[in-house]
């Protein structure tokens, strides 16, 4: 009798547990069904006859009422207070609909593909084009009817290109560009030689030669090293593919063929890209062994501040970090915070990258100069396919990419906007980057998933190349053009193998 009772109890508990699972699964279905329908909608949108018709299935045009949308922003925007301003302004503007935008409160690099299907991802996310476009294959983000947005005409086609996907002859845009990321040169004005205006300004344009050409930078780096041990000119981790590959692109190299869409055509060794590798090798000879790995990337902030380095190359979004370190360094010299800040803002210069000698010989006198084609990215807003309020999300994206908000973003974060009107209004670096993008001197990171496979082989090569500068003359691996070409060809082969060996193609 007692046993029977136990069995009955166990049975009831099992039923309760299973129904609990069902309930939860159902609960999740609610989310999941949003997700599923979203997935279906996306699929329809991507494979249907007309983009506008299919997108209207997602964006009905009627704002959802009393909803909370979770927005994933980058840490700098949160830290500098821009994001709070943005959501406050949006919430005020959409108060009558009861739409509230909140911080998703997640890691800025969190993966929507992991969290979205289970209902824990953000509704709107601000990430780089290569990251956002990775979500497209898994249908994790919705296409956006960008033609209807106010910012559409203001953003150049090259920026839209980063988010464009052609499917069955129909073009879809998967996110809205906000910010152009590319390499910039940072240097300390107060570390220029006193006589730079007479000795280091050959063209008399008031800009020091060393920040205009890599050849002059090479000469200046050599001079600084000779002047004092442990002091350097230009410093950069060669290991970093994002920056080092720029030198290959400038001499004919590329990542993928057919405008970065054909992964079977690898181009790290294309054209005369070996000349770019040769430039890197010459630069590494005037650095320390920190250029082999990530050391310089990490220590550049404090080393530029203490005067050990004269210049480095990195992205514009870290300007505030350099500034912060320089202010601390000046304060350490006994200045007040205000004095230190004023001096740091005057002496820390962020400008466009120098030009390269066409011959790739940094020691050549009066070389013909060509522009450095830097690798870049476009950060933008995407809309999760798991959101329950796509119309509210679209409203948020439109609001966040409006002239006023992008202008405010520029003022607070010093970003290079994708909007032409803001770029021209701001002038300076913002306009400079915008022009580089327009002129094709910013090579956008490929927006296809195969891009994941380029980093490790290329990192290994650049690391080995940097190491070569510290090898004994008889042991050098890259001491002639053929060896450089062979090294780059091997990079292409390794990437190709990584992409296709297990793909069955």
């Amino acid at each position: 009798m007692r046993k029977k009772g136990y069995r009955l109890l166990a049975g009831l508990l099992c039923i309760g547990l299973l129904s609990g699972c069902g309930g939860n699964a159902g609960g999740n279905d609610g989310k999941g069904s949003g997700g599923n329908s979203a997935g279906t909608d996306t699929q329809n949108a991507q494979t249907g006859d007309g983009a506008a018709a299919d997108l209207s299935n997602i964006y009905t045009g009627e704002l959802e009422r009393n909803v909370t949308i979770r927005v994933l922003e980058n840490d700098t925007a949160i830290e500098q207070g821009y994001f709070q301003e943005l959501i406050d302004a949006f919430n005020e503007a959409y108060a009558e609909y009861g739409i509230v935008a909140v911080d998703a409160n997640m890691d800025q690099y969190s993966n929507l593909a992991d969290d979205g299907p289970y209902g824990y991802g953000p509704d709107v996310l601000y990430q780089a084009n290569d990251v956002l476009m990775k979500y497209v294959d898994g249908k994790h983000i919705y296409p956006i009817p960008v033609q209807n947005l106010e910012c559409y005409a203001q953003i150049p086609d090259r920026a839209w290109e980063a988010y464009r996907r052609e499917i069955d002859g129909t073009t879809y845009y998967m996110a809205v560009p906000v910010n152009v990321q590319t390499s910039m040169l940072y240097y300390r004005k107060d570390l220029l030689p006193e006589n730079w205006e007479t000795e280091w300004d050959d063209n008399g344009n008031g800009i020091p030669d060393m920040v205009e050409s890599w050849s002059a930078m090479y000469r200046f780096s050599k001079l600084r090293m000779e002047e004092k041990e442990g002091q350097y000119g230009y410093m950069r981790s060669m290991y970093d593919v994002y920056f080092s590959s720029s030198f290959l692109f400038s001499y004919g190299g590329y990542v993928f063929g057919n405008n970065n869409t054909d992964p079977s055509d690898l181009g790290f060794s294309a054209g005369d890209s070996w000349m770019g590798a040769s430039v890197l090798l010459q630069q590494a000879s005037l650095m320390n062994e920190g250029c082999i790995d990530d050391t310089i990337t990490v220590n550049a902030y404090s080393k530029l501040a203490d005067g050990t380095y004269f210049a480095t190359m990195t992205t514009p979004d870290v300007y505030t970090l350099f500034l912060k370190e320089l202010i601390l360094a000046y304060q350490g010299q006994g200045m007040s915070e205000e004095e230190a800040r004023a001096l740091a803002e005057e002496n820390l210069v962020m400008t466009k990258v120098p030009m390269l000698p066409a011959s790739a010989d940094l020691t050549e006198e009066n070389p013909e100069l060509i522009p450095l084609k830097t690798m870049g990215g476009v950060n933008g807003y995407g809309i999760s396919a798991y959101t329950k309020a796509p119309n509210a999300c679209l409203a948020f994206v439109e609001f966040a990419t409006s002239y006023d908000m992008i202008m405010r973003r520029c003022e607070l974060l010093g970003i290079a906007p994708a909007r032409s009107d803001v770029a021209s209004q701001r002038g300076g670096t913002s306009e400079m980057i915008y022009q580089s993008l327009e002129e094709g001197n910013v090579v956008l990171m490929p927006s296809i998933t195969e891009v994941d496979q380029i980093w490790t082989p290329a990192q290994s090569f650049f690391s080995d190349l940097a190491k070569d500068a510290f090898r004994e003359p008889g042991e050098r691996k890259y001491d002639d053009p053929d060896k450089l070409k062979a090294g780059l060809t091997q990079v292409d082969t390794q990437i190709y193998d990584a992409i296709f060996t297990l793909s069955g193609n």
Partner: protein
Amino acid sequence: MKSTKTLRVMDTVITHVILVAVCFVFLFPCLWLILASFSKSGSIYSFDGFFPSEYSLDTFKMLFTDTDMYNYPRWFRNTLFIASMSCLIGTFLVILTAYTMSRFQFRGRKTIMKTTLVLGMFPSFMGMIAVYIIMTQFGLINKMWGLILIYSSGAPMGYLTQKGFFDTIPGSIDEAARIDGATNFQVFLKINLPISMPIIVYTALTSFVFPWSDFILPKLLLKEKDLYTVAVGLMSLGETEFARFAAGSVFIAVPIVILYFCLMRFLVDGMTAGAVKG
């Protein structure tokens, strides 16, 4: 005689040299981190050789006051809550499991023991994907109780040490108590538990320390920054936040040290209890 003395001296010297070398390997990184956390500049690259050139408490001050982006006090509270609850529930479950396995004979006991022994050989992260999916089904993602549940329910798997301890307590004591009319629960509570203090303390310490320093599970289950534990939070710091990382890593040891000093008395008392017969 003289050579024996020489040998003894040599033995002492060599032993001490080896001990000092081993200590150096273990202690140097800790010492370096502690000193680095007091660095005035906060940057690893401004050190004078291995150690900071100037010292201050600014980093610790910043750790607890500059909380806009990196809310260390909150991470600390979260970790303390998760570790404390896991410790309480986990210790209770482990002791019960071990006592049951040690004192009672029932069908399937051996099979359960063998199964747990085999299951214990697999690394805990092996089931992470399954854990994640189960937690999503139960709606326990982004919930600290989800983590507590996993830590506590997993704890009894490691009951063998505790069972070994209970096995050393003579069964005749239980029989004597039962003859005097004690129930199973009374035997456990009034006879076995008081003389098992060392193993309870040991269990509590290990049950606390594992959740306290774990990274994989909180990283998997806690998506929101406000719910981060110290381990996850420290890993999310920006690349220029070395000073904060060092100070945070040093401060995380404080509760463990306090707990150890508080519980050490019970550990020693328990071990010496009954050692001297009257």
